[in-house]
């Protein structure tokens, strides 16, 4: 019951992941970070098979950062380029004997066009660029909330309010405590952690 959520707005992308590391019905850790920063303006959140997730995430992170080092500091992979690269790697692995079982959300902010980006990828490497996204059971509870309240031009405050609405619904409906969400925001300034105040 890992939760991944993503919301885009006027000038930002929000990506959130649950803090609980679970194995079956047991919570092994309450402050697990399921996100990786790829470069200055892109990050990804991951869920899926225990070993695969971190292995794949670190492989992607290393290669995106290697690209950054090989090129000029002002010439980094754009969010669409990062998403395409990740999809290709995941699709390649899908046709191998031991495919990575990883679901991803890739959030980014394109500083050349000043546009937010959010990509949804599942373990089959199906890719979609969408305004808001979720993975796992959170899809069933949160997508309907976001269908009703989201629109493309929302402010960061409204985005965080939507995130709180989703979090509160999940706390209410999911049978296992997912230990809250850690939220990150990507703006023109880069990737930052945001504290989502606790449920009332």
């Amino acid at each position: 019951m890992e939760v991944l959520l993503g919301i885009t707005g006027k000038d930002f992308t929000l990506v959130a992941a649950s803090n609980a590391a679970m194995r079956g019905v047991t919570i092994l850790k309450a402050e697990d970070d399921k996100t990786r920063t790829l470069n200055s303006h892109t990050m990804m959140a991951y869920s899926g098979e225990a070993g695969d997730t971190v292995q794949f995430a670190e492989y992607i992170q290393a290669n995106v950062q290697l690209y950054g080092m090989r090129n000029n500091a002002n010439w980094q992979l754009s969010p669409p380029a990062v998403a395409s690269f990740i999809r290709q790697e995941l699709a390649r692995s899908l046709r191998s004997r031991n495919a990575y079982h990883v679901n991803l959300l890739i959030g980014g902010f394109d500083t050349t066009t000043n546009k937010p980006h959010l990509y949804w990828l599942d373990h089959l490497a199906s890719q979609a660029s969408i305004p808001y996204a979720a993975h796992g059971y959170a899809q069933y509870y949160c997508l309907s909330i976001l269908d009703k309240h989201h629109h493309p031009g929302i402010s960061l405050e409204k985005g965080l309010e939507l995130m709180r609405m989703c979090r509160d619904e999940l706390v209410k409906r999911l049978p296992i405590d997912f230990k809250g969400l850690s939220v990150k925001v990507i703006t023109a300034k880069g990737v930052q952690k945001i504290e989502l105040e606790t449920a009332t």
């Binding site: 999809r87 290709q88 699709a91 899908l94 046709r95 949804w120 599942d122 089959l124 490497a125 199906s126 890719q127 979609a128 660029s129 969408i130 996204a133 899809q139 069933y140 997508l143």
Partner: protein, 205 residues
Amino acid sequence: MSNPFSINGGAVVAMVGKDCVAIGCDLRLGMQALTVSNNFPKIFTYGDAYLGLTGLATDVTTMAELFRYKVNMYRLREERAIEPETMANLVSSSLYERRFGPYFVSPVIAGINQRTGKPFICGFDSIGCIDFAKDFIVSGTASDQLFGTCESLWEPDLEPEDLFETCSQALLNSVDRDALSGWGAHVYIITKDKVIKRLLKGRQD
């Protein structure tokens, strides 16, 4: 349910008219019954050839990118755009290369041969067997419904605007009877010197 061809859903149809062809697709991307995106076009353009891909979404993207590479290489080598008939053979051989581990897609090609001016459509199974047709080609999770609507609406030698109407109505009414397709459509009307792409609004349920 775990049939790879019907996990993500989608529909494509191509039709022949008088010196014109039409090709249309829906826009849904789903995971089983859950809709993930309502902006996932399944038609890709390669010079004079238009390729529609339904089936497993990951393979739709993979094949679209593979053919972008192969067609670009063809154009550099031959110094001309690829003809729809040639594209059909390229798709067929690329699919048969994976005979015992296929891409789970059902491609459709539509286009007008710029040299001869002849309209051309064809379809494929997932391992590259070509289905040449004089009338129409359907593919995707709504293919049963599309066979019905096309069989009743299509007639020979339709003019471009009539062909657009026939193709669009066949597509929209088929996807409304399929839970895994719909959420809007793209329709291309291709004549020798003009291509019109229209975005159709469909039922959002």
